[in-house]
Symmetry: C2
Subunit: 332 residues, 2 copies
Amino acid sequence: MIFYREEIITRKGITMIDKVIGIDIGGTNLRGALVSKDGNILKRMKISSQADQGIDKLIDNLAGFIKELSEGEDIYHIGMGIPGIIDSKNGIITEAPNILNVDDFPLRAALNKKLGSDVNIVIENDANCAAVGEWWMGASKDVNSMIMITMGTGVGGGIVLDGKLWTGADGMAGEIGHMTIYPDGAKCNCGNYGCLESYASATAIRRMVHEGLQDKGLDTTLRERTKNVDEEDIPQIVMESASAGDGFSLGIWQEVGKALGIAIASLVNLLNIEMAVIGGGVSNAWDLFIDTTYEEAHRRAFRSPMKRAKIKRGLLGDDAGILGAAHLAFKG
Amino acid sequence: MIFYREEIITRKGITMIDKVIGIDIGGTNLRGALVSKDGNILKRMKISSQADQGIDKLIDNLAGFIKELSEGEDIYHIGMGIPGIIDSKNGIITEAPNILNVDDFPLRAALNKKLGSDVNIVIENDANCAAVGEWWMGASKDVNSMIMITMGTGVGGGIVLDGKLWTGADGMAGEIGHMTIYPDGAKCNCGNYGCLESYASATAIRRMVHEGLQDKGLDTTLRERTKNVDEEDIPQIVMESASAGDGFSLGIWQEVGKALGIAIASLVNLLNIEMAVIGGGVSNAWDLFIDTTYEEAHRRAFRSPMKRAKIKRGLLGDDAGILGAAHLAFKG
């Protein structure tokens, strides 16, 4: 059950807010959970987001999803992670090209209208939510300041300083994926050249494969392995072929690891954080790139802050975003 | 007059702390001022630091300097900026190779012992002080979050977020000069390759001049102008020759501007700050590099946060560090 604001105000004085809903809004799925104050997932759900069918359909689906998740519970706070530029303060999606073809959409207002409620909805960039999640319940549980790098289709980032998400003057901070690593490097989706994202994302791995295979003399098992496969599956295949010892594939993971190490070194010198957490689907190839990352970062950064900054793999997987959204909802 | 702790505690309840001392400790000079709560410099002094004669001499000089600055005043708080890695919390100079050949030196304790006082001494990295100074009383007076880049012999940096200096887990944050800009670039003093410092400092400019002049065919007025001059004077000469239209010299300032622009773009995407302030002696060549910086930053960063982040020249010059140290002293 979700409440109108008057009820929230009345009850707030007498009721402890001990459960919230955390949701990760993706292009394909809505994944969410009922989360307790101490970070336990009490109930979990996943449905198709159908975001490609437009904003009305997404709102419909979200509303139904929330109703089902909140069944039998008193819910006053909902947190949501969204892949895009989010105006958290006003509850507006500024831009989310990968899930929605609408700019400046007032998600909070639209959703409350649809729900017929006035529940407290917090929206935030999905990579920021993942950072908060790992900081709250995951790899960075015991530190005050950390960065999280999420390697997926793109490379997302989040920065937690002194236990607080740093979102910047307009909520746009944390774009670690769009630090310039190689000024004359590969073109990035954002228009810049040589961003971390153009060397350490699934998209980057596909680019490296296609570029490499143009050299007809290159001896690699990828030539056969990637024939007639879905583009989406290529990173997984490069992981398998590298594990089987294919030199070209191993080199791709070294490129990924090196770019990541360069970025981490700069971030450590800049922010003197206690931990860099790496997550996202591409990080499943951990053993294939992390040695290069570690070596590169330690070779470049100042010794003392680099010694302090542990490089760790995310512990929460897909739950990082849900738990981070939930934590932000608790803080309301 | 400076006070013992008991006196401070007794008086604190009844006396408003309305003046502090801010000091900038350099390899050559001690520069300091008596500063009022609203940021006015009431009295200003400068003496030789004689830091090259060892730590005892420096402490002697500092103590005399403080006594003279505080004459006729009730001083409870002193702030100091030092070029090096500073452990602010414990009042220790961790490392300051350019002024002192001592590691882990407890400056706060040694100075209070020498003064026979127990005054509240705050020490901080000098570039961090400059950032706080420009944020408090200079170019960034009206913003909440900013970075400052100080281009001198090296490149220093400071990060102010939500009106608070971000010093990191161990007080080592803000090393903007040691972000990697060109991974395969020139070797930096810190051991890394391609740091901002190795492209935008006085040292970098000297390197570019010497490297360029090795090409005997290069047509530049610098060949004559830099004969038998002091190494220290080279950046100034490159400024003059560029202003007079020398192509090679102009190219050097474009290199400086470009590296700076690449760094600012990454910082804007990362931190979504409201302003990037550029100061330090090398920034006197402002008109020779800033167009390139502006263009490069805008070409690379996300449009919206880059539009927000103004690039400004520092307003306070050498006073930035003194005022920043004073502000940190007020905050105690």
